[in-house]
């Protein structure tokens, strides 16, 4: 089963039954200790159970009935919380299992220092070892290709069935252990020791998600423990006050009040929220090296985005033919077309397409069989075709004019003007010439990705500053920056300027997120607070990042930020909800506790619950069942919309704050009606 297949796995019945079993196993006090809130509930359950047994022996049938039901619901409270955690863990474990299955034991062909090849188990390979992998074989461990090119099937980890090309040198040289070479042969230098590979780290991370708390989780756990401690003291003090007042309050009722008051809802769901956040990230094919990194993603206030691939389509498209004076546009288009017919690059194809659209040319590359091609090279900066005595050239605004001059031609002044104009518009001018005559200029335009403007606006609304990174000159960069609406741009970016930019932003207090793939991105990735490395990138980049995007999608960072925020929002919403719930529970239980000694306190029974026993039981039931009711929300996460914090706060406070105040009044009342109808406990007021 691949990670991909896991996406379809939801709350299947087997997952539920497995989690139910796990929930029982987690009742072990040693396990419960890690969650003080639920540990207190477990201790309370134990006490009430003992109390119930005592009442049974004493023959007090009516009180036994009540105490037993309270005890059952308290145990259920603990079990529900354990179930939520187990369910989330189960999903993570299945994912880890899927990853582990790819780490099958392989035999590697290791190149010894002498040059001979020996067969060794893949698990014995150490950093620096070299291995040869040929078509059909599985790459034994993480490494960098030092020789050769191969197509590699990475579906085992990415779920993407289309093979990817991996080659020595350049930014696509990293390979991952567990992936399969489909063609050719490569020599790989191993970059990870056994147990430290990419997969190993991911597996241990997913499995260890429970034990590793993120900074915000730790802080929240402290607060919840503090609140629990306060309520323990409140309840302990209530008994002397009751004694002083002449009221008899049973231990069971005191424990029921305690459990209702301590933040069991968030306490029970907290780890599920964290684990499921990590799972959601995994479902989007992002592997994070720590929960801390995901949480930091929610905090990011500046993100650096590469222009090419993220903001614009990777390739420029021809959008306009600009003929020189005295030249027909059709002439220019025809020359551009024939010179591009054999050009397989996206730019070339876009020129062909534009020319055909405008003038319905019918030539194909078949018609140019005897033509002589001049390939585009970094030195010549132009390409061309010679056929039938015609010499057509197209290329940069420096090389083509130079060619024309060489041929004895002259340059029209309009050419310079057009070249400058197109450059200023953020485009790339491509000059076309035939023989000694400049025909005109092709406007190659950076095509902004559809929808990117809206996404950037959404980020801005969420208070995140977007910065475009580009190798273009500042004029071009500014044009595109304005067009798509980024807040800032870094033109003619080099690894050094990127690093400096990040450091400067961090010095001002910002958390910076970025995506990178090449080795030259690694210093910046290492410096950034949230660094997403593309899986297709180099090993160095993957080491420097704290997340790896298996899809190698440059816009994935935006998703990651949203997931980071979603986790925090879910946690905050449930905390607020849990604390706000207390008000109604006070009003249910306090009058029930003291109404016998102070009948006037019945006035506080604003829900008009039937009897003291039904009131206490209803509050306890509400407190218990709210946990499973909120499990889907905890696993899915509270919906996040990229709007300003003030709006999010208002909406969430309304739903989870006011809702948290009001809902238990309704819920407890309804449960009380049920309890009354079923005569579950004594209904004597």
């Amino acid at each position: 089963m691949s990670v991909q297949e896991l996406k379809s796995q939801t709350l299947s019945s087997s997952a539920v039954s497995q989690a139910a079993g796990e929930a029982l196993r987690k009742l072990n006090p040693r396990w419960m200790m890690h969650n003080p809130v639920m540990f207190i509930v477990e201790v309370g359950s134990l006490f009430t159970t003992v109390d119930a047994v005592r009442l049974l022996i004493a023959g007090n049938a009516s009180l036994f009935n009540f105490t037993l039901q309270i005890a059952i619901w308290l145990w259920l409270t603990v079990l529900f919380a354990n179930f939520a955690e187990a369910l989330a863990e189960g999903r993570g474990r299945a994912q880890a299992q899927a990853l582990r299955s790819t780490r099958t034991d392989t035999v590697a062909r290791k190149i010894e220092a002498s040059g001979t090849i020996t067969m060794v188990p893949g698990t014995q390979l150490r950093v620096g070892d070299r291995v040869v992998v040929t078509a059909g074989e599985i790459i034994p461990s993480d490494g960098t290709i030092i020789e050769g090119v191969a197509s590699v099937d990475e579906s085992a980890i990415t779920g993407e069935s289309a093979p990817v090309i991996r080659a020595a040198s350049g930014d696509m040289s990293a390979v991952t252990g567990g992936t399969r070479v489909l063609s050719d042969q490569i020599t790989v230098q191993i970059t990870a020791n056994p147990g430290e590979t990419f997969l190993d780290r991911m597996i241990s991370l997913i499995e260890g998600a429970v034990r590793q708390k993120t900074p915000n989780e730790i802080a929240l756990a402290i607060l919840l423990a503090g609140l629990t401690l306060i309520f323990v003291v409140v309840i302990m003090a209530t008994e002397p006050f009751a004694m002083y007042s002449g009221a008899v309050v049973s231990v069971t009722v005191l424990i029921a009040l305690l459990v209702c008051l301590i933040p069991t809802t968030i306490g029970g769901l907290m780890s599920a929220i964290g684990i499921s956040g990590m799972n959601r990230l995994l479902q989007r094919n992002v592997l994070a090296t720590s929960g801390r990194a995901i949480e930091a993603a929610g905090d990011v206030n500046v993100i650096l985005l590469d222009k090419t691939g993220t903001i614009t389509m990777g390739n420029r498209m021809a959008t306009e033919f600009v003929p020189m004076p005295g030249v027909q546009e059709r002439t220019l288009a025809e020359a551009a077309l024939v010179s591009s017919l054999s050009d397989e690059t996206p730019e070339g194809q876009s020129i062909v397409q534009l020319a055909r659209e405008r003038f319905q040319f019918s030539q194909t590359s078949e018609d140019l069989r005897d033509a002589e091609f001049h390939e585009f090279t970094a030195q010549t900066q132009m390409s061309g075709i010679d056929f039938g005595g015609r010499m057509i050239r197209k290329g940069s605004s420096k090389s083509v004019p130079a060619f024309v001059k060489e041929q004895g031609g002259s340059l029209p002044p309009e050419m310079d003007r057009e070249v400058t104009r197109i450059g200023r518009l953020g485009g790339t001018p491509l000059v076309v010439a035939e023989g000694d005559r400049i025909l005109g200029v092709i406007y190659l335009k950076d095509i902004v990705k559809p929808g990117i403007r809206e996404r950037l606006q959404a980020l801005r609304d969420a208070g995140i500053k977007t910065v475009m990174i580009t190798g273009d000159n500042p004029v071009t960069a500014e044009t595109i920056a304005q067009e798509v609406g980024v807040d800032d741009f870094l033109a003619q970016a080099t690894p050094e300027t990127k690093l400096a930019y990040i450091k400067q932003e961090q010095a001002e207090g910002y958390l910076v997120g970025m995506v990178g793939d090449g080795t030259n991105d690694s210093p910046a990735l290492a410096q950034a607070d949230v660094a997403v490395a593309m899986n297709s990138g180099t090993q160095a980049a993957r080491e420097a990042g704290n997340m790896v995007d298996l899809d190698s999608s440059p816009t994935k960072l935006l998703d990651i930020v949203e997931i980071g925020k979603q986790i925090l929002i879910t946690r905050g919403a449930m905390t607020t909800f849990s604390v706000a719930n207390d008000v109604a529970k006070y009003f249910a239980i306090i009058p029930a506790m003291f109404v016998t000694v102070f009948p006037g306190l019945g006035a506080l029974n604003i829900m008009h619950l039937t009897s003291p026993e039904s009131a206490v039981l209803s509050a306890v039931i509400f407190n218990a069942i709210i946990i499973p009711l909120l499990i889907p929300l905890a696993l899915r996460g509270v919906r996040y919309r990229p709007v300003g914090a003030a709006v999010i706060l208002r909406n969430n406070l309304f739903v989870y704050g006011l809702g948290g105040l009001a809902l238990p009044f309704v819920g407890i009342k309804l449960i009380d009606l049920g309890v009354t109808a079923l005569h579950l406990v004594s209904l004597h007021p």
Partner: protein, 570 residues
């Protein structure tokens, strides 16, 4: 309730709002070392003090150094006061020949005045010599400054970035004394004298009553003590009867002046806070939340008092509850004063809180149990409110999808730990000691009223001690060894359980970089946050006392209205 009464209360709140900015700006000038009109007089004095004490003005302290200086300062104040009280008879200015105080009472009183509580387990005119009263007054000058120093350090922690120090305690102390405490209480005392407060050092006067008996009328430097007692939110009155005494509060004008004096610094500090953090909306929001709770409390109490006692109504006696009230002030002013004294934590009373209607008593308890954050005394009120703001930010702040921040500073595990600690200790002490009192012989013996009212009396005493309020509900034998020691401990815990975590938070925050504000920042100003803050104070701060309050004032209230009384009593 009368229209005039409600209007008067509203006008008073309006005056408080109007006061905040000028007082805040003055405080800002004093602590930001800007020019003030007092500089020509005070600056040389200040320099002289530093030279004498060997204080280097520019040397700042870390949070721990700051705390140790504060602790040393408090400790010396305690020891000196304790010593003087023990040997009072041998000291001068004792025309009424007061005896030495015993160790229990001396401990309780010295703690009480050191912690700005001014819980008085003694009657001033029948226990203290003029010398001792003056020594108490010295503490009334000094103890509020501890609170002031705390908030100055705390605000610096919030506003400074990447720093390590929180200011110099000795400088904060000296500047507060010279620029704030002395000049304003001097002016205040002068006005009080003009309004009829006595100010003399003469012997007690013997008066012949109309019935032919004789009565000894206590005299002394009343105006002087009265001014600093109210201005410094101390509340330890010259007379046992406190502000209800005609010498302390001869008329409504002097009552209003005392109220204004008591509110001035705490209210001004909210504006000062906004000014220092460079966003005055922050200060207004805090003040708004405080005043909303204050106004609600005052009106609820006023309503309860104005409706009066239903049992008396059955007897044909209609009208407001006048038991324990000065006829000169009536229910509206008395409600305003008693809500104020418990909210602002100065603790001087102009009416007997024991005789308030149960709901009135509930309001006074609520004001203290919520942590004395509804205005609160010098510095500590705002400090407590800021601790609640940090909790509110943490509880709800996650809901905007970022690590919670307050004023750009990230609120993380350490801050949460300390804020939780600051919240836990007072709750533990109030509930723990109250529980002990109602189950132990010593505690029960000191309760004069049976039933729920007795529980209210006990809760009030410890809430007042922990909150460093100092007002007494009455009806409790505060001078019995049990209460002398337990309340004494409550006062100590209440003070230092707040100081240590607060300074630790400041020490941690001051080192942090601030996250610049953006659209993604949790807004900590405006109505929404104000409401959230109030909800946090009520739900997290006060509702934990709900079970206790249900058995105290609430039980009494409902019993009263259903015609049930709790007989007996001393």
């Amino acid at each position: 309730m009368t229209v005039a009464g409600v209007l008067g209360i509203l006008v008073f709140v309006a005056v408080l709002i109007a006061m905040a900015k000028p007082v805040g700006l003055y405080l800002f000038a004093v602590y930001d070392q800007r020019r003030t009109f007092l500089d020509p007089v005070m600056r040389p004095v200040e320099r002289g003090i530093y030279r004498l004490a060997g204080v280097r003005e520019e040397k700042e302290m870390s949070w721990l150094e700051y705390f140790l200086a504060l602790l040393a300062f408090n400790l010396v104040g305690f020891v000196v006061l304790y010593g003087f009280l023990r040997i009072q008879a041998a000291l001068p200015f004792n025309p009424a020949h007061m005896k030495d105080l015993g160790p229990h009472l001396s401990f309780n009183t010295a703690v009480s005045f050191m912690t700005n509580t001014n819980w008085q387990a003694y009657g001033g005119e029948s226990t203290m010599s003029y010398f001792s009263q003056t020594m108490l007054m010295v503490q009334q000058f000094l103890s509020p400054i501890s609170g002031m120093a705390m908030i100055l350090a705390f605000i610096r922690g919030l506003s400074r970035r990447n720093a390590h120090t929180l200011g110099n305690f000795w400088v904060d102390l000296t500047r507060t004394l010279l620029w704030v405490s002395l000049p304003i209480s001097f002016i205040g005392a002068m006005v009080l004298v003009a309004l009829g407060n006595p100010q003399n050092w003469g012997p007690y006067v013997t008066a012949h009553t109309l019935q032919g008996g004789t009565q000894s009328i206590a005299q002394g430097p009343v105006a002087m003590m009265n001014a600093i007692m109210q201005f410094g939110d101390n509340g330890g009155g010259f007379f046992n009867m406190n502000a209800g005494h005609p010498y302390e509060t001869p008329n409504v004008a002097s009552l209003m002046l005392q109220l204004i004096l008591g509110f001035s610094i705490p209210v001004g500090l909210t504006y000062y806070f906004g000014k220092v953090v460079k966003d005055t909306r922050q200060g207004w929001t805090i003040l708004g939340a405080m005043l909303a709770m204050f106004l609600t409390g005052t009106l609820v109490m006023y309503h309860a008092e104005a409706v009066g006692n239903p049992l008396l109504a059955h007897l044909g006696i209609h009208g407001a509850n006048m038991e324990g009230k000065e006829v000169r002030f009536g229910p509206a002013l008395s409600s305003l004063f008693e809500t104020s004294t418990t909210a602002v934590s100065w603790g001087s009373t102009a009416a007997a809180n024991d005789s308030l209607m149960p709901i009135g008593g509930l309001i006074t308890l609520f004001n203290m149990m919520s942590g004395e954050v509804i205005i609160g005394a010098w510095g500590v009120g705002l400090l407590g409110m800021l601790a609640f703001a940090i909790l509110a930010v943490f509880l709800a702040g996650l809901m905007v999808g970022r690590t919670p921040e307050y004023l750009g500073k990230k609120i993380q595990a350490f801050e949460v730990q300390m804020a939780t600690l600051a919240m836990i200790v007072p709750t533990f002490v109030i509930l723990g000691l109250s529980a002990w009192a109602v189950t132990s012989k010593g505690g029960l013996a000191g309760i004069y009223n049976p039933g729920p009212h007795g529980l209210s009396e006990v809760l009030y005493a410890f809430a007042s001690g922990v909150g460093n309020n100092g007002s007494a509900f009455g009806g409790l034998d505060a001078a019995s060894p049990f209460y002398i020691w337990t309340v004494g401990l409550a006062m100590l815990f209440g003070r230092f359980a707040m100081y240590i975590p607060a300074l630790a938070i400041a020490g941690s925050l001051v080192q942090k970089q601030a996250v610049p504000e953006s659209g993604g920042t949790f807004p900590t100003h405006g109505m929404l946050f104000g409401g959230l803050l109030i909800a946090t104070v009520v739900i997290v701060g006060a509702l934990v006392f709900f079970p206790a309050l249900a058995l105290g004032p609430l039980a009494e209230h409902f019993a009263l209205w259903s015609g049930h009384v709790f007989g007996g009593g001393a």
